[in-house]
């Protein structure tokens, strides 16, 4: 077991997959000789050669479309959107082509679209977005977002192992800020399972990505005041682990949903609706949500900091719900 950063763990998973299966290839903008805009694939070209690590032109639609075509003839392509924001250029291929293929009997499309996402790195409106909401509405896709190095590797392998198109969201602010133990070898996490990051009896936080860390920090602060918060890291957003959510909520009877993405029409809205419909009688307090405001992601630190849900906001919501 090695201690790796989040970005190293993703790379480790990808490298292990490419060593284990010659049908796994990587392509995208600057992923080869340059090693990727974030240097995630540094050394891949040297190890796997130019036929499996392929630099492409700036053509997101063709990159995702070509991944579909390569998958249909038996490969397991992993492609990189240099920034998650750029995937809007490939929306048709994601939503209308890859996602519908199985249902239309077009064939299985085992492909992974890696997308470095999220705010906190001063990227501004075009390099900071959370994009899961756009794709969460789409049957046929799977969406994954790890929060820890161990999960980053396991879920990367799980995404490659999955025969469906998988959107693999990598939070840029976690790339080098998170370090932790990572299993060796082919440690595959099947998609669709949430993880309990911190057990607790008083309240459930449902979260993912960078907000899993802020939620844990807020939960520790609450524990000092006698409130035991259970923090569930969803890890896979599509499909959601509704069983794990229900099990925890039925026990704690209070729910706070925390995500970085905007609230309107988002993952949290769907979870809240589900809980209201199916677990209403288990609830002792209104379902609460924390997310970003309805604005593009701003650049300057005072604005970006105000945009992102803070530990303070999460702590205050915990306190309010616990007293309900």
């Amino acid at each position: 077991m090695a201690v790796l950063t989040y970005i190293e763990a993703i790379a480790d998973g990808l490298r292990e997959a490419m060593r284990a299966d010659a049908s796994v290839i990587l392509f995208g903008e600057d992923v080869g000789a340059y090693g990727g805009a974030f240097k995630l694939s540094k050394g891949f070209l040297e190890e796997f050669g130019p036929s499996r690590v392929i630099d492409t032109p700036i053509s997101e639609a063709a990159i995702v479309g070509a991944a579909v075509g390569a998958a249909l003839v038996g490969l397991r392509p992993v492609v990189e959107m240099q920034f998650a924001d750029f995937i809007s250029n490939a929306f048709t291929q994601m939503v209308n082509v890859a996602a519908t293929s199985s249902y239309r009997a077009g064939g299985c499309v085992p492909m992974v679209v890696r997308a470095p996402c999220g705010a906190g790195t001063h990227g501004g409106p075009f390099h900071s977005q959370s994009i899961e909401g756009y794709f969460f509405h789409t049957p046929g896709l799977k969406i994954v977002m790890p929060s820890t190095p161990a999960d980053a590797k396991r879920l990367m392998l799980g995404a490659i192992a999955d025969p469906n198109p998988v959107l693999f969201l990598e939070h840029k602010a976690l790339y080098r800020s998170q370090r932790g133990p990572v299993e060796d070898g082919l440690a595959v996490e099947p998609l669709g399972r949430a993880a309990v990051r911190r057990p607790g009896r008083d309240l459930t936080i449902l979260t993912y990505g960078m907000m899993a860390h802020r939620s844990l920090e807020a939960a520790e602060r609450a524990a000092a005041e006698g409130v035991e918060v259970e923090v569930i890291d969803l890890r896979t957003l599509l499909p959601l682990d509704l069983d794990a959510i229900a099990e925890s909520v039925a026990r704690t009877s209070r729910v706070l949903i925390v995500h970085e993405d905007r609230l309107r029409g988002g993952v949290g809205a769907e979870i809240a609706a589900h809980l209201g419909e199916h677990l209403f009688t288990s609830l002792d307090a209104p379902i609460s949500r924390i997310g970003a405001p309805d604005t593009p992601v701003p650049y300057a630190p005072p604005l970006e900091t105000a945009y992102l849900p803070s530990v303070d906001r999460i702590f205050e919501a915990i306190t309010r719900l616990a007293r309900w």
Binding site: P57, S59, G65, A66, G69, L72, R104, A105
Partner: protein, 341 residues
Amino acid sequence: MTDETRTQAAAPGPAPADPPPADLERLYYFMLLQRLAEERVVKLYQTGAIVGACFTGWGHEAIAVGSAAALGPDDVAATLHRDLGARLVLGMPLGYYFANFLGRSGSPSRGREGNLHIGGLGPRILLHTDFIGGNVPIAAGAALGFTVRREPRVALANFGEGTLATGEFHEAANLAAVLRLPLVLVCWNNQFALSTPIAREVLGPLDTRMAGYGMPACSVDGNDVLAVYRAAREAVDRARGGGGPSFVECRTMRVRGHSEADDASYVPRPMIEEGRRRDPVERFARHLLETGAAAAGRLEELRAHAAAEVDAAQAWAEATPPPDPAELEQGVYCEVTPWPS
């Protein structure tokens, strides 16, 4: 019978020969089968048996069949909604065509799709994509897959002239060119994208604009199946030999509406009349007779055989049940299997 063939920047090499005589009959048979099957589907549409829209490749049979026939046994194609003949050449049972139009469970799409939108038809026909331009990156990706695996296989994409206006065509053509992928781009220039004439879609000759991609290109009479075959075969051979992608413009005329609901009143009548005079199926029949490749009696036999195949395919499709609503939510995802295998 070729009225003009133009080639731009193609690598010099021996010109591909015509198919052997036995294959000429096969080409004619598939063209005729497409025509007779589409005649039947139009009738079904007119009687209300087809609930969705109805598109045909009427007058484009030479392109569908001639280009697909130029592919090798392991090559693949990304499809167009008018290329029934290509799918028949590549092994699609005709029954699927009727079942898909009729929304019956006999089609692989089991009622999830209509028209000729049938995908995943074995190893040679890639999933259908109904967005104009969307299938070109997919064909490029298949070609990329062959390159990664060092397999001597070729991918072909069928698309109309309006596709040249899309971003996805540009991205995929450029990607294929810089990566030197074994891709053949077959452009069906039938002069109209729904109601928009080509002059409002793209300017200038289509083949010469490919020079900007560094891609060999040619322009052939798309109503001449042998001209299409020769041009496609040259492009396929070039791709297989490591020469990268090529572009083949096949000039034709859409002699019916965009769909059967469209009366094409915006198309000047002389254009349609001229297109009908140059009907590719009749022209090839005359060619076979004039060259002695087939006798009149043999052509009649082929016609009777094709008509019987259409009857049998329709009957087969109609005998398969409508889809079960209980299946509505099935098959959205492929099932996870152990990996690595």
